[in-house]
């Protein structure tokens, strides 16, 4: 059986995917994903870029009018694609097995706000 290829599933990568999969239909912005994944701010852009590159995530700017109404800069929102959600589930299932084998535990999605 050929070895499956795909992104390297480091722990932060898994945490980001878990955060996104907690509500796959919801759009989330960078800091929100950081908070939900329990990662420090400023650490996730390479991970998001990788998954966007792979087509697992898509991103778009928030409507400028909404942002303006709330008196803040517009946010970049990320959302799992349909295909990406499936792939992420599979990849996480495989990675979780490996992580369990190492005796490590990942934090649950949405564990930190």
């Amino acid at each position: 059986m050929p070895k499956p290829t795909g992104p390297r599933m480091t722990l932060p990568t898994q945490l980001v995917l878990r955060a996104m999969l907690a509500d796959p239909m919801q759009e989330k912005y960078g800091l929100q994903i950081c908070a939900e994944a329990g990662l420090p701010s400023g650490t996730i852009h390479p991970i998001l870029a990788r998954f966007e590159h792979l087509g697992w995530l898509e991103s778009s700017w928030e409507d400028e009018a909404n942002a303006h109404e709330e008196g803040r800069p517009r946010r970049r929102y990320y959302r799992l694609t349909e295909d990406g959600a499936e792939r992420a589930c599979l990849a996480l299932a495989r990675a979780t097995t490996s992580v369990s084998a190492m005796g490590l535990r990942t934090r649950p999605a949405g564990g930190m706000a």
């Binding site: 290829t5 852009h45 390479p46 800069p73």
Partner: protein, 273 residues
Amino acid sequence: MSGSGVASSPGRAWPYARRRPATRSRPEESSWPEARADKLLTAASLIGELVTVRDLSCDLVDEMRRSDDYRWVQGGTSDLLCRIIDVARFCRGHAQEIGRLQDLSNEIGLAQETADAISSALADPSAIRVSHAIDYDLALLQLAAGQLHTELLDVRVTATRRLQMQVGDLMLGPFQPQEESLLAQQESGPGQQELAASTLIAPSAGRLLTVASRLLPSSERARYAEEYECELWELASAGAGKAEQFRYATRQALRVGHLRGEVLAPRSKSAAP
């Protein structure tokens, strides 16, 4: 918002002003570690320049492999070699400026010498000074270019590791709550509520993010600059102090190489997991 950069100018009025009460006490003396901020900016620039010089060396290797005609190679690589030598010189300067990086500076110096030697050999085939080459041969120069590329790859890896250690020292060591309060006071002016709204963003963090976004490919620069700007604003509006904002900016700057790698990764990477 233009998205072309983050709020980096202390004098720029932030357009999304949200006021916070100015309840801070006045500092007795200024203690903003400008020297540390400068070092971090220099470190971020150094990493960016090392990425540039590594990319240039990769182009050099490709260019030299494209032909076995000496004159053609000479024409195609002279500009690249000049740029490599120039950027390497900048890198050495930055490494010396940061301090405690003498070995790294020496390694960059060796790579610069290799580039110099290739350049000299291409300019004057009779004066062979490429490493310990016995005879002039284009193949040897191609090998030397490969060697240069390897040297620069090693240098970049070493530099990133060393700079991360140094930045860790800078970030973890001296920041104290009182210092953070002093920073906030210093950057927000003499207790004026109106001014506090326009200087919610730490200028030092903004400057660092500007440098970080400049290290990205031009096609992605505006997008990430705006994203950083937005996140910095969100942090500030959630009450993050100047030091915390600066830590955020440092984390972005240290990961910008990874981000660059991801956005430049070939599309064929999108294979099924």
